[in-house]
């Protein structure tokens, strides 16, 4: 049973591309046959995050316009032979595709792959409408900030009005230290407004910047806490029940000492 997952948010810069790359890779690590589709036409980034930008010959527009066969445009990942990327075009814009064309494309991809992960562009216009056209389920990414949550709420409203009922939420870039100080929204503050199920909470992590620059998704780094969070999310998307990570990291020597004595 193939599944098309669209990763969306409304707000830009909250982590859609990072999330798409990492859960796609996470699903591939678990043995599934996965294709990542970059639907951000004109502002493509997924290829950079995956470290595959030098291998692009054909892109999604070429496939849709019939300039090449689908297989020719798919780029096999450097590390996992069951992971592929269908890059976006950089020299076109989002009006170059229609929702119907996206839907047809997703149907062809479903014949070959277990999971199709679509990286949705920011916004609510044509790019968004195209990206959700062929999707079976939606993952909404937000950060714990008022503006991001406002936009996520809008997006969820639009998803619920379309065929994508029951989207799930990823809360990205959470900083537990700021939450404790009262300087950042808590997980409950966010879910109180958005009222959808959380599929994962990803801590703010420097390793994401490093991995983006290197073109190596953080899930491949055993030391990365964000990577661990994305690995858990991939498994939850496959239906497994994984307990949520303890995000509390600030263990100075004294608090470790106290814990030793049962304080």
């Amino acid at each position: 049973m193939s599944e098309v997952i669209v990763v969306t948010s409304g707000k830009g810069g909250v982590g859609k591309t990072t999330t798409s790359a990492n859960i796609g890779t996470g699903l591939a690590i678990a043995g599934k046959k996965v294709v990542l589709v970059d639907a951000d036409i004109g502002l493509r980034n997924l290829d950079v995050i995956m470290g595959l930008e030098n291998r692009i010959v054909y892109d999604i527009i070429d496939v849709i316009e019939g300039n090449c066969r689908l297989k020719q445009a798919l780029i096999k990942d450097k590390r996992y032979s069951n992971l592929y990327l269908l890059p976006a075009a950089q020299t076109k814009d989002k009006d170059a595709v229609s929702p119907e064309q996206m839907q047809k494309l997703c149907e062809s991809l479903k014949e070959e792959f277990d999971y199709i992960v679509i990286d949705c562009p920011a916004g609510i216009e044509q790019g968004f409408k195209n990206a959700i056209a062929g999707a079976d389920r939606a993952v909404v990414v937000t950060t714990p900030e008022v503006s991001a949550v406002r936009d996520a709420d809008r997006i969820i409203g639009l998803l619920e009005a379309s065929d994508l009922k029951n989207p799930v939420l990823i809360l990205n870039r959470l900083r537990i230290d700021m939450v404790k100080r009262g300087d950042m929204m808590t997980i409950e503050d966010v879910t109180e407004i958005l009222a959808i199920d959380i599929v994962g909470v990803v801590p703010d992590d420097e390793s994401i910047v490093v991995s983006a620059n290197r073109g190596e998704p953080a899930v491949l780094d055993e030391q990365s806490r964000a990577g661990q969070a994305f690995r858990d999310i991939s498994r939850r998307l496959m239906g497994e029940e994984i307990p949520f990570m303890d995000l509390d990291t600030n263990e100075n020597f004294f608090s470790k000492f106290k814990k030793l004595f049962g304080a």
Partner: protein
């Protein structure tokens, strides 16, 4: 320094009136208040009351500090803070007035509920970007998230949290009201009067079921419990 009369606590039918000396420096007022409150702790007990500050204009921060002193130094359950109607440098008219007097609330409710409207019931929450308009009254069984809008020619009742924009009596009816289980709109409008809930009122006073209505072109907010 006589701190005996710099702060005087009096009770009346609306609650407790805290008379503050006009000229004394604020730090001295704080310590005098603390002493008065702790001395009277047993007398006041743990009743639910409202507080009215008189005699001196206070900034929001100063008012909050005095309220902290009262709630820490006593067992009182502060339900509301009445806004003093003395001329103060802060223009309080733009802000809603918290009404505590049960008789006034009753009168307002009798006046507003005599309006005949056709009412629609909406089940579910309104998300950001969703608007609901109706020529009668609206009842929402759910929340209104920030960015959501309710526009009614009649009354608006929200059985949930109101965090968006609400406009009751939009065609010019001052007798309409807005009620919610949690009244925290980004903006509240009744007819052509617009207001919002200032941050210092927000956390303590409107998280309980509340009703907003107009009296003499001023928005009042009253508790519903």
């Amino acid at each position: 320094m006589s701190d005996n009369n710099s702060v005087i606590l009096k009770g009346n039918k609306d609650g407790i009136v805290v008379m503050l000396d006009k000229d004394l420096e604020f730090e001295a007022i704080k310590s005098a208040l603390y002493k008065k409150v702790t001395d009277a702790k047993k007398f006041f007990g743990n009743s639910k009351t409202s507080i009215l500050f008189k005699g001196r204009s206070l900034t929001d921060i100063e008012e909050n500090e005095l309220l902290e002193i009262i709630s820490h130094g006593s067992d009182l359950n502060i339900a509301f803070v009445s806004v003093p109607d003395t001329g103060s440098s802060i223009n309080k008219k733009e802000e809603p007035v918290i009404q505590v007097n049960p008789q006034t609330i009753d009168d307002a409710l009798n006046r507003v509920s005599s309006i005949q409207n056709n009412t629609i019931f909406h089940k579910g929450s309104l998300r950001s970007g969703q608007a609901l308009r109706h020529i009668g009254s609206i009842v929402i069984i759910g929340d209104v998230n920030p960015g959501g809008e309710i526009i009614a020619e009649g009354n608006v009742i929200i059985l949930g949290s109101l965090k968006g924009v609400v406009h009751a009596g939009c065609s010019g009816n001052y007798d309409c009201f807005v009620a919610a289980l949690n009244l925290s709109p980004t903006q509240l409008r009744i007819s052509d009067i617009i207001t919002y809930i200032p941050k210092h009122m927000n956390k303590t006073y409107t998280v309980a079921p509340s009703l907003a209505y107009i009296q003499e072109k001023q928005i009042y907010i009253a508790p519903l419990v």
